[in-house]
Symmetry: C2
Subunit: 471 residues, 2 copies
């Protein structure tokens, strides 16, 4: 591998009609095509080349970004920028304008790592059906569907979600209580603006999903840490510590990340507290569908007699995350308030994704997909746990859990979970350290490993051996 | 037209495996299919039917929403709910599950009204090309493209936007300065969180785009009204009134809604003020591409030597609004701050829409479309103005403007613009009253009429006659 000097890029033409960034782009592409630059060769930094050519750094960066997006070059952090090592000049990437793949595909495959958290089984998604519905939806695009979408969500989608929640999660709500959002953060943000104020306190599970704490912080809302035991959030302790909190964020189905379910007595205690304090319960039901030991539990929202529960659902886990489609169910008495806030802060979700999802639900694919995934995840969970245990049994213990999409590997011998997770990342394995899910980073060390994309016992064992090498 | 009693809906079966909402849905559908309910018939209110059947109101509403979404019934506000008047039982809507149209299409056509503000020419959009790129993008969906999208935007899209801004708007920026958002409100919201605080004051053009003022209000930021004259925002007056403001929101290309351009001396004065006060300029460049008397002016951001300008661009006007895709360009020194805020509040835009737009730009359709629209809008503007003037010339005067997508019709004789706009709405014509664009609703009365969807002089005259009847 050689370090290539700027000299290998032929001089730019100030008189050309082509802007400089395009000229740089063409020249680098040309140098690669002609073999002057070869896969693995280092190219000058954007800063360096800009200085040398007397151009703004942004101009060179634009050219490099295009080259990178099209797969010609790769940024390697400290190691600089190189011509893409695997670049096959006969492959479509060399002719990106005729390439039907998405521009970044060439290097995106790397971005899904074994054990990556928060992902459903991407290989098991019915992509052909999806593509058929998608193509149909786009072909059917009419001027009326191009104007501003309904801000609270497409009526047809809100109706389908209401129907689904009634059957699957035991929630009795009307479509007007449903607000389509772009994800959990968007949902939580709407709730904060609609119902909370700067300075308010909110109970938060500890350990708990870090983005909740982070978003509340940006809204100047105090996250009050509440411990979690085998029955979920310890509500009595929360009441003792901060009875005047204005809300509680809970993950009742499978606590995030410990996967325990909030027990019925705790659910009732929480509802009682909210009712008598006019406080709010924010139910983050990110994966309520995925329970394996028995039928999924009804949502906490299904017990909400006093209109205190805000229900946050998402399509990220039951469909896929890059869809950016989620929803919020608000108590009937809060509809006006949420309509006002939703109108102020956002313009709705793209009509296209809403149309495809509506068709997917309506035609029965959604219910079938969830059924299939429930079965598949039970199998993959068992296979992953067995594979990890057989290889790593001396070093860790896997929690028994009723549901969820990841395993919790308790590390024995007081080993640091953050160190091991960092080592795994370097080796191309994804892991999250449980101690990063508490505000002071203490607690028992454990790894959180998503199992939904581990396709067999053999794969799990192979990956476990790679982990063993790092211990 | 008869009012149908609940009796026409056969009794529900409590022992059935079908949930109640589905039973209601099926029964109403059945009654329509069998002719018991006919187009135009009124059906019981959800509340009434729920009481009668002893069900939760939400259950009936869910059934009605599905029926409405599929085109069987229509809500008529005070007039109640009726079986869709135009319902043709042989048409696809009677078999929605085999209907390839989007579920709500049947009644969405009504939602785009003549003169509707904020819309590009929806009939002139290259829908076939779009559908081809869309189908291709969906078919090419790989697991890697289903995982969480890049939060700041797809690298390929950010690179294309940077390249476009350089050529078309004179903005020299790197892709890392670009943040893809879901629209102007999302953009403004990010800026408020990143750079402003509750209690800050912000200069706002008066008259000006009402959502700006509304969103700032929800963030507890004071909107300071600054008048607009022929050269745009009167910067000297703003400095006099509130020199310590933390930011200014401006629409330099075509002031929203007066369509005047911010003059060069004013641009420089604004930049000077921002630089010496460490204040921010938020440039809302919602339609900078659409100027007809000469070449589009470079963006204010192109003059930003001190890194004080936040540039808000959008695809709503150059493509279409239901796409929900926009972007923000931040000064290089602010990249870290915006990355932090973007990560806290959102999970990125859908991969699919980003992929399609990237391909649309990359393959040259975007530049061609803008060129075509510039020409078409110049024609439609002239035709619309001529048609309105020939019929309504005694009652109003149309402002001369260099660009934009709407006309400003000054009402003579002190007529109320709000009253006339309201009357037009009742008659199915869209109009906005200029006085609604000022906080105290004063100022000269005028109507704002979008011309981009008025396809000929004849159409304009026909519509003008309908307006004349209302005067």
């Amino acid at each position: 591998m050689s370090i290539v000097r700027s000299a290998s890029i032929s001089p730019l033409d100030p008189a050309s009609a082509e802007p400089y960034y395009r000229q740089i782009y063409e020249r680098v592409r040309g140098a690669i095509a002609s073999g002057v630059l070869r896969p693995g060769d280092r190219i000058p930094s954007a800063r360096g080349l800009a200085t040398e050519l007397g151009l703004a750094r942004g101009t060179v960066e634009t050219a490099y970004s295009l080259l990178s997006a099209e797969g010609y070059i790769q940024a390697r952090g400290q190691a600089g920028t190189v011509v893409a090592p695997g670049l096959d000049l006969r492959s479509p990437v060399a002719e990106p304008r005729r390439d039907s793949r998405t521009p970044t595909d060439s290097f995106r495959a790397d971005s899904v790592l074994p054990f990556q958290m928060g992902l459903p089984a991407l290989d098991a998604f019915p992509r052909k059906i999806w593509a058929r519905l998608g193509a149909r939806s786009i072909r059917a695009l009419q001027p009326s569907g191009m104007a501003h979408p309904a801000v609270f969500g497409m009526p047809a989608l809100r109706a389908e979600i209401a129907a689904y929640l009634q059957v699957s999660r035991g929630i009795d709500c009307s479509p007007s209580q449903i607000f389509v959002t772009s994800g959990y953060r968007h949902t939580l943000h709407l709730i904060c603006h609609a119902l909370l104020q700067a300075g308010d306190g909110v109970w938060v599970e500890t350990p708990g999903f870090p983005p909740t704490r982070e978003l509340l912080g940006h809204m100047d809302i105090a996250a009050i840490a509440v411990p979690v035991d085998r029955e979920g959030m310890v509500v009595s302790e929360a009441i003792e510590r901060a009875p005047g909190a204005r809300a509680a964020v809970v993950t009742p189905a499978h606590q995030s990340p410990l996967c325990v379910s909030l027990s019925l007595p705790r659910r009732l205690a929480l509802l009682d507290w909210a009712a008598s304090n006019h406080a709010w319960i924010i139910e983050d039901d990110y994966d309520g569908e995925y329970r394996y030991v028995s039928r999924p539990l009804p949502a906490l929202k299904s017990l909400d007699r006093d209109g205190r529960v805000l229900y946050a659902g998402t399509f990220s886990k039951v469909l896929f995350p890059s869809l950016r489609l989620a929803y919020l169910v608000v108590p009937e008495a809060q509809i006006d308030r949420f309509e006002q806030i939703a109108l102020a802060f956002a313009g709705g979700s793209p009509e296209l994704t809403q149309t495809i999802v509506t068709a997917f639900i309506k035609e029965g694919h959604f219910a079938r997909h969830i059924q299939r995934m429930r079965k598949l995840y039970a199998e993959r969970r068992e296979a992953t746990a067995a594979g990890l245990e057989s290889v790593l049994g001396d070093h860790l213990r896997i929690d028994a859990q009723p549901g969820g999409m990841h395993l919790i590997l308790r590390l024995l011998d007081g080993r640091s979970d953050r160190q091991l997770a960092a080592r795994m990342r370097v080796e191309g394995l994804y892991a999250e350290a449980l101690t990063n899910w508490t505000p002071d980073r203490d607690g028992a060390p454990a790894l959180l490993l998503n199992f939904t994309n581990i396709d067999s016992l053999a794969t799990a064992e192979k990956l476990a051996k790679r982990i063993l090498n790092l211990i």
